[in-house]
């Protein structure tokens, strides 16, 4: 999905979900911030299970098919759209209060879409272990404040989310070719906090 497709889908969702607040992460945020040209899918977090149920209902009503749990797709002529949505977190990582306060508001249709900060987008991408996310991590590494990423990663660890701990993030940063000094900081923080 390129920039026009991303924005078009957001407007359509926004019109169908009046008053709802969705948190957006992943490649879609990077597209909207011109950090990449296009994205495979749009990733969202709803604030509550009730919002998630409503979002699922609306996605189905506008032609999306749920082909895996919380993963939706719609195929149209010349266009393919994929939406992943969860409530209160994503990929087993919670949406923390700090992430909420760093998020940037955009209004699409009648809904508020909160774009996670670059730091938080990077953190979510740093735990997938996918090759395609390495390029995104590299692109984000030029814009983020590493202190913020490290602090959030340590917070995750304290919350028992081991997959987002500094030691794990360091593995991705090293593979992505991020500056050695940054990688060492995460490795060291990972060792100290374990």
């Amino acid at each position: 999905m390129d920039r026009v497709s991303v924005e078009r889908l957001l407007v359509e969702l926004g019109e169908a979900l009046p008053g709802m607040t969705l948190y957006m992460l992943g490649g879609g945020v990077m597209v909207l911030r011109e950090l990449k040209e296009d994205t495979v899918d749009l990733d969202f977090m709803a604030e509550s299970n009730e919002d998630l149920r409503e979002a699922r209902r609306v996605l189905k009503s506008i032609g999306f098919r749920e082909y895996e749990a919380q993963r939706f797709e719609r195929r149209r002529v010349g266009d393919r759209e994929r939406v992943d949505i969860d409530a209160g977190g994503f990929l087993g990582m919670p949406l923390t209060g700090e992430m909420r306060s760093r998020a940037e508001l955009r209004r699409f249709g009648a809904a508020d879409v909160m774009l996670l900060s670059d730091e938080d987008v990077l953190l979510f991408k740093a735990v997938t272990g996918r090759y395609k996310d390495l390029g995104d991590v590299r692109a984000l590494s030029g814009t983020v404040y590493w202190d913020v990423v490290l602090e959030e990663s340590l917070r995750m660890k304290r919350m028992g989310v081991a997959k987002a701990s500094p030691g794990i993030v360091a593995i991705t940063l090293r593979h992505a070719g991020v500056d050695d000094a940054v990688v060492r900081r995460f490795e060291s923080a990972g060792k100290q906090s374990s």
């Binding site: 924005e7 272990g129 794990i168 593995i171 991705t172």
Partner: protein, 297 residues
């Protein structure tokens, strides 16, 4: 309507949802104000109050409506074709760029772009001719790629074999292009000239990656889409080298997964037999079989 200022405002509204002050960079405040009112009246853009604005008159942000987004798409295409024609008329061999060739030409999933492809060494001349900022020019090192291209709806797209090799050897976004290439190989398996593919892969120094993609396609499809003798031909030319395991392997092992279970057998084979660094089997599976209608095929 559609003068330079209007087009600039539409471009700016796509991503940043700017306020009027930011839009005033496109022209004077008075002109911008008039343009915005006209575009709003036409249903091309809409304004909404920015949250958290200070007391007093609320600050407004502008965004494109669905009609505005369609118009933006048309504008981009017009500009792309204009630059394509300009480069072509200058006698430079030109095709649609790799990303757009894959998506629009062959219906590959999820890749887009507004690039033009010209022979390596001619990029500078072509860039000087391309007038619109959204249109990028990429240099292609495979000799004769433009002549091997396929024409559809007034544009020449990169040929299938060149596309696969360039996707395999791409440095900008290799994992996504490589994952998409498995779908193209699967769907066009009978149309691919494997002799040409191997020749181009050798020229590009990408035999390991292209061969690995052919192998991965068979594994993803669960059958011999690419014939055994073709794979053997590539395998004979593979350059041995050390390839690191996927980051996913390290992450899983760090999380306590036994090393023997942390790597898919297909990924291990790509690394050990094909000596290639490719997206994981699971990553490819996410987009495998996801192809739309392409203009070329």
């Amino acid at each position: 309507m559609l003068g330079g200022n209007t087009a600039r405002i539409i471009d700016m509204c796509l991503l940043r949802h700017p306020g009027t002050a930011e839009l005033a960079k496109a022209a004077s405040s008075r002109t911008v104000g008039k343009e915005i009112r006209e575009l709003e009246d036409l249903g091309v853009l809409t304004r909404y109050p920015a949250k958290g604005a200070s007391a007093g008159r609320p600050k407004l942000r502008c965004r494109l409506t669905p009609a505005g987004l369609e118009l933006k798409r048309v504008l981009d295409d017009i500009r792309f074709r204009a630059d394509y024609r300009r480069v072509e008329l200058a006698g430079i061999p030109v095709t649609v760029g790799l990303f757009r060739s894959m998506a629009e030409g062959y219906g590959a999933p999820l890749v887009t772009g507004h690039g033009l492809a010209v022979p390596e060494g001619m990029e500078k001349r072509a860039r000087a001719l391309a007038r619109w900022s959204g249109v990028e020019v990429e240099g292609i090192g495979l000799e004769g790629f433009a002549e091997r291209g396929a024409v559809a709806e007034g544009l020449r797209y990169i040929g299938l074999e060149d596309v696969i090799v360039l996707a395999a050897a791409n440095e900008k976004d290799p994992a996504r292009l490589q994952a998409c290439a498995t779908t193209l190989i699967n769907d066009f398996a009978r149309r691919i000239d494997y002799g040409l593919l191997l020749e181009l892969a050798l020229k590009a120094g990408a035999v390991n990656e292209v061969g690995g993609l052919l192998f991965l396609t068979n594994r993803l499809a669960g059958r011999g889409v690419v014939r055994r003798e073709v794979l053997d031909g590539f395998l004979r030319r593979v350059a041995r080298r050390r390839v690191e395991r996927h980051p996913r392997y390290e992450i899983l092992v760090a999380q306590g997964v036994p090393p023997s279970e942390a790597e898919h057998s297909a990924d291990a084979e790509v690394r050990e037999k094909w000596h290639a660094r490719l997206p994981t089997f699971e990553e490819c599976r996410e987009v495998f079989g996801w192809r739309g209608v392409g203009r070329v095929g």
